[in-house]
C-alpha cells in the first residue's frame, strides 16, 4: 500500500473516532473471520457475496453488516447507496451497525463524490445515506446522548487490501 493510502485511512479514522464511531483496519481474510465471530442478522455485501432480502420490523435487530460505497476522510462519514428497502431499514433499526468499506473507495471530502451522487440519483429512485457515527441527540439540556432513533453504535471495517 502506498503512503498516501495509509494517510487517508489515518485521516478517516481520526474523523470517524471524533464522531464516536469505531474503526478497524483489516484485510479481507480478517473480514471473513469477523463475519464468523458475530451473529449478524442482516448482511448485505458484495465482498461477502451475501445480499439478505428479509424485512426487519420495528423490533429491530442487534447486529447488521452492510457494505458501503465510499467513506469520506474529512468528516469520518460512510456513504451508502440504499435504495434497497431492506438495506435501508436494517441500517435504520440495527442496534449496532457494522459497515464494510474498501480502502480504495476512501475519498478526502464530500466534493469528491459528487459524480457518484449524480449517477446514483439519475434514474427512477435513489436513496443515499451519509452516516457519521451513531444516531445521537442533544435535545434535552444539550446533553449529548447516543442512540436516539437509529443505531447506538457504529463500527467501520476498512478492508485494507481491497
Amino acid at each position: 500500500m502506498t503512503s498516501k493510502g495509509n494517510s487517508i485511512i489515518d485521516r478517516f479514522t481520526q474523523s470517524a473516532i471524533a464522531v464516536t464511531a469505531a474503526v478497524k483496519v483489516i484485510n479481507k481474510e480478517q473480514l471473513l473471520s469477523e463475519k464468523e465471530e458475530h451473529n449478524f442478522k442482516f448482511i448485505s455485501s458484495e465482498i461477502l457475496q451475501q445480499f439478505d432480502q428479509h424485512y426487519i420490523g420495528k423490533e429491530g435487530v442487534d447486529e447488521a453488516l452492510v457494505e458501503v460505497n465510499h467513506a469520506i476522510a474529512e468528516t469520518g462519514t460512510v456513504v451508502l447507496e440504499c435504495s434497497n428497502e431492506q438495506v435501508r431499514t436494517a441500517t435504520c433499526v440495527a442496534e449496532h451497525l457494522y459497515v464494510i468499506v474498501k480502502a480504495s473507495s476512501l475519498v478526502e471530502c464530500s466534493h469528491d463524490i459528487v459524480d457518484f451522487m449524480a449517477e446514483n440519483t439519475q434514474n427512477q429512485g435513489g436513496y443515499i445515506a451519509f452516516i457519521s457515527g451513531p444516531s445521537r441527540t442533544a435535545d434535552i439540556e444539550r446533553v449529548l446522548t447516543v442512540g436516539a432513533h437509529g443505531p447506538r453504535e457504529l463500527t467501520i471495517f476498512i478492508v485494507s487490501d481491497l
Binding site: A18, E85, R136, I140, R142, A148, H149
Partner: protein, 716 residues
C-alpha cells in the same frame, strides 16, 4: 401580552437564562474549533453566491427539479399559500386512510402551522425529532430553529414524559428519557401511513433532496411508511451536488458546532416500499410559496431567501440570549426570524420584535450564507417606523432637537447648567454622575449616567487646541454627540496627543448627530437630514491624511449609512465615499503613525471590543494593547460581545440591556483587571455606569484617555 411583558417574563425565567447562557458560550467555542483549518469567509461566500439569484433562476431550478422528480413517478405540487399546502397534505393522508403521519423536523411546517391545521381536520401528525416531540406533548412552539426545546430543563421534560406515559420518569436520567422517545416513536413509524420530511437542500440536477439530521428520525420517516411527503420552500433549491456539498459543509458547523451531523440523507423520487401495494413508495414534493417567491424580485429582501436555517444568528445574538426564541422571533427565530416574520407574516406582526435588535451586527458576521441580517433588520425598522409611526417622544427629539445642531447645543448647555443640583460625585472614582434621573425608575435604573459637561467639546477644543505652525500631517476629527456633550476629555486627550506629535487636528464648526440613533429608531427622514447636515460641515477629504473617530458607532454610520442616505445625491454620495475611504478609529491611526508606547504604572488592564469597531470599522485595539502591556494585559472572555448599550435601546429595552451588561460585568470581574479599556464612548457610558451602580471599583477608560494618562511615548 405586550412585548415588554413578554420580555419581563422571560428575563425572570432562571432556567431559560442558565440554558441560553451556557449554550451561547459553549457554541462559540465549538464553532471556532470546527471551523479551524477552514476559511469561513471563503466558505460563506460560496454559499452566498450559489444562493444569489433572481426569480427566473429559481423557477428554472424548480422546473428542472420538477421534471426530474416527475420522470421518476413522483408528484410535484406548488402550494401558493400555507393553507393550500396543508390542505394538499391532508388530502394525501385521507386518500391513504392514514390518521397518523410521522414527521421529521421542518421549520417550513412551523411557518405554515401544519400541525395545527391537520389537527383541526382530525388528523394526527406526530413529531419524531426529540425536541419537537417534547414540545408537541407539552403543546408548545420551538424556541430555537435547531434546538427547539432549548428552553426546557430535564425536570420539565421528565414531568411531561411522566404525564404522557403514565410511568415514573427519573429527571436525572436523560439517556432514559431519550429511550422513552425511541420506544414510543419506533411504534409510530410503523403505525403511520404517511411520513413527512422537510428538505435542507433540493438539488435540481437530478431532483434529489438532502436532509441534515442527527437522530435518524428523518431516515425512518422517509423509509418505513408507504408514502413520503416532502415540504420544501423554493429557496432550498440549488443547481447540483457540488453546490449541495458547499451547503452541507457549513450547515452543521454553524448550527451546532458539529463537523457533520450523524446523517445526511439524499432522496430521489420513488424507492421500493413493500408497504405500498404498488411496491413503490408514493412521493409528493410540496413546494411552498406562501409569499416568498415575490421577494426573489426585491433588491434587498431577496437576501433573506439565502438562509439555510442553521440558527447561528440566534446562537450569537446577545438579545436572543436574554429572552429566547419565544420572544425573539415568531415562527422563525433569531435575526432571520425577525426578518421572515416581517416578510411572511407581514410587518404588523413584526413591528415590535424588530425593535429588539440591538444593532451589534454579530449575526451579519456569523451568517454562513453571508446575509447582512442586521442591515435588513435596520431597513425593515425604517419601513415599520414610517408605516406605524415611531415613539412620538423620540420623533419630536430627533426632529426638533438632534437634527438642529444649534438647538441641541443650547439645550445641552441649558441642561448642564441646571443639572448641578442633581449631580453628585461617585465615591470611589470621583467621577461626576447624575444623582437621580427623574422618570427613570424601576427596571430602567441599573447604571449611573455621567453628568453633562459644563462646556461642549467644540468649545473646549477651540479654546485649548491651537493650530500647529508646520504640521507633519492633518486629520479631520468627528467628535459625535457623546464626546460633544458628555465626554469632551476623550476627544481632547486624542487631540493633545496628536498635536504633540505634529498632527494637526481639525473639527467640524458645528457638531451634528451622525444619524444612527434616528436610523435605529426607524426614522429615515430625520436620519437623512442629520447626515446631509453633517456632510455639509465636513471639510474636503483631499486636504486631510485621515478622518478620525473615537466613537466607532459614528464611524460605522459615516462609512456605511452615509452612503445609503446619499444615493440620490451624487455630490454628497461622492463626498461620503471619499470620507469613508479615509475614515478610521483613533487607535488605528496611532498604529499607522508608528508611535512606540510603554506603560507607566503596574496596573492590569482588560479590553472590551466595541461592536462597531470590528464589525463596522474592521479594527480592534487589542493587539496594540497586548503589545504595549504584555503580562499586564488580561484578555476578556467574549470581549467582542455587545455591552448592551445600543443608544436608546438601553432605555427602550432596559431589562435586556441590563442583562447583557451584567454578563459583561461578570466577565470583567473574572479578569481581575484594574482598568477596563474600550474605544467607544457609548460602551464607556454603559460599562462604567453599571460598574459604578454595582460599586465595582474598576477604572473604565476610553483608549485615548488611557494612552494620555497611563502610557508614554518612547522617544525614537
Amino acid at each position: 401580552m405586550s412585548i415588554h411583558d413578554k420580555i419581563r417574563t422571560k428575563i425572570e425565567d432562571d432556567v431559560l437564562y442558565k440554558n441560553l447562557k451556557n449554550f451561547a458560550s459553549s457554541y462559540k467555542q465549538s464553532k471556532a474549533n470546527v471551523y479551524k483549518g477552514h476559511d469561513f469567509e471563503t466558505l460563506r461566500k460560496r454559499v452566498y453566491d450559489l444562493k444569489d439569484r433572481d426569480i427566473n433562476k429559481v423557477m428554472e431550478q424548480f422546473h428542472r427539479f420538477k421534471d426530474n422528480a416527475e420522470k421518476s413517478g413522483a408528484t410535484v405540487y406548488q402550494a401558493r399559500t400555507g393553507e393550500d399546502a396543508c390542505n394538499y397534505i391532508a388530502e394525501v393522508m385521507k386518500k391513504h386512510n392514514s390518521k397518523y403521519m410521522v414527521k421529521s423536523k421542518s421549520m417550513t411546517s412551523e411557518e405554515i402551522q401544519l400541525n395545527h391545521r391537520l389537527e383541526a381536520k382530525g388528523l394526527s401528525p406526530i413529531e419524531t425529532d426529540l425536541g419537537e416531540w417534547i414540545l408537541q406533548i407539552g403543546d408548545e412552539h420551538p424556541s430555537h430553529m435547531v434546538m427547539p426545546a432549548i428552553h426546557k430543563t430535564r425536570q420539565q421534560v421528565a414531568k411531561l414524559f411522566s404525564d404522557y406515559t403514565g410511568k415514573t420518569v427519573d429527571p436525572d436520567d436523560i439517556k432514559g428519557m431519550v429511550e422513552i422517545a425511541r420506544q414510543y416513536l419506533r411504534d409510530d413509524y410503523f403505525k403511520a401511513g404517511v411520513g413527512m420530511t422537510g428538505a435542507n437542500i433540493a438539488v435540481a440536477e437530478t431532483g434529489t433532496i438532502g436532509l441534515v439530521t442527527n437522530e435518524g428520525n428523518a431516515r425512518l420517516s422517509s423509509t418505513v411508511p408507504p408514502v413520503h411527503i416532502v415540504l420544501v420552500g423554493y429557496e432550498k433549491l440549488c443547481d447540483n451536488f457540488s453546490e449541495a456539498m458547499d451547503i452541507v459543509k457549513v450547515l452543521p458547523k454553524s448550527a451546532t458546532g458539529q463537523n457533520i451531523t450523524s446523517y445526511v440523507t439524499w432522496i430521489k423520487g420513488q424507492n421500493p416500499s413493500h408497504k405500498n401495494e404498488t411496491g413503490v413508495k408514493e412521493t409528493h414534493y410540496v413546494f411552498v410559496d406562501n409569499g416568498r417567491l415575490a421577494f426573489f424580485e426585491h433588491p434587498e429582501f431577496k437576501e433573506a431567501l439565502k438562509c439555510i436555517r442553521c440558527g447561528s444568528c440566534a446562537n450569537i445574538c446577545p438579545a436572543y440570549e436574554m429572552v429566547g426564541g419565544h420572544v425573539y422571533g415568531d415562527r422563525y427565530i433569531g435575526s432571520i426570524g425577525l426578518i421572515l416574520t416581517a416578510l411572511y407574516q407581514g410587518d404588523a406582526d413584526a413591528q415590535d420584535i424588530l425593535k429588539m435588535c440591538i444593532g451589534c451586527r454579530a449575526c451579519s458576521f456569523n451568517c454562513p450564507s453571508g446575509i447582512d441580517l442586521q442591515k435588513m433588520i435596520s431597513n425593515l425598522k425604517m419601513v415599520v417606523g414610517q408605516k406605524y409611526g415611531i415613539n412620538s417622544v423620540k420623533k419630536q427629539v430627533f426632529n426638533k432637537v438632534i437634527a438642529k445642531p444649534d438647538r441641541m447645543k443650547s439645550l445641552m448647555g441649558l441642561g448642564s447648567t441646571f443639572q448641578f443640583p442633581m449631580t453628585k460625585t461617585n465615591k470611589f472614582n470621583k467621577e461626576k454622575i447624575i444623582a437621580s434621573v427623574p422618570m427613570l425608575s424601576g427596571e430602567k435604573d441599573f447604571r449611573h449616567f455621567p453628568a453633562l459637561s459644563k462646556k461642549s467639546f467644540t468649545k473646549m477644543f477651540n479654546n485649548q487646541i491651537r493650530p500647529l505652525a508646520n504640521p507633519k500631517k492633518k486629520v479631520f476629527f468627528y467628535p459625535g454627540c457623546a464626546v460633544e456633550y458628555m465626554y469632551p476629555e476623550i476627544g481632547l486627550a486624542m487631540a493633545r496627543l496628536l498635536h504633540k506629535h505634529g498632527v494637526q487636528v481639525d473639527i467640524p464648526s458645528r457638531s451634528v448627530c451622525c444619524g444612527l440613533p434616528a436610523i435605529a429608531a426607524g426614522d429615515p427622514e430625520n436620519a437623512r437630514t442629520m447626515i446631509h447636515k453633517n456632510l455639509d460641515e465636513m471639510k474636503s477629504p483631499a486636504d486631510y491624511d485621515a478622518f478620525l473617530v473615537v466613537c466607532p458607532t459614528c464611524g460605522g454610520a459615516i462609512k456605511h449609512e452615509f452612503l445609503d442616505f446619499t444615493r440620490e445625491d451624487p455630490d454628497r454620495y461622492k463626498l461620503s465615499k471619499q470620507i469613508g475611504e479615509k475614515l478610521m478609529p483613533m487607535g488605528q491611526f496611532l498604529e499607522q503613525l508608528n508611535l512606540k508606547f510603554r506603560v507607566k504604572g503596574g496596573r492590569s488592564v482588560t479590553y472590551h471590543t466595541p461592536c462597531h469597531n470590528t464589525r463596522s470599522m474592521d479594527y480592534s485595539a487589542e493587539d496594540l494593547l497586548k503589545n504595549v502591556l504584555g503580562e499586564q494585559f488580561k484578555p476578556l472572555t467574549d470581549s467582542n460581545v455587545c455591552c448592551g448599550f445600543g443608544g436608546t435601546y438601553s432605555l427602550d429595552f432596559a431589562p435586556i440591556s441590563n442583562g447583557i451588561l451584567n454578563k459583561k460585568i461578570e466577565h470583567i470581574e473574572d479578569t481581575q483587571a484594574d482598568i477596563v479599556i474600550t474605544d467607544c464612548p457609548g460602551c464607556v457610558m454603559q460599562i462604567n455606569g453599571g460598574l459604578m451602580y454595582k460599586g465595582v471599583e474598576k477604572k473604565v477608560m476610553h483608549l485615548s484617555s488611557f494612552i494620555e494618562n497611563e502610557l508614554e511615548v518612547v522617544p525614537s
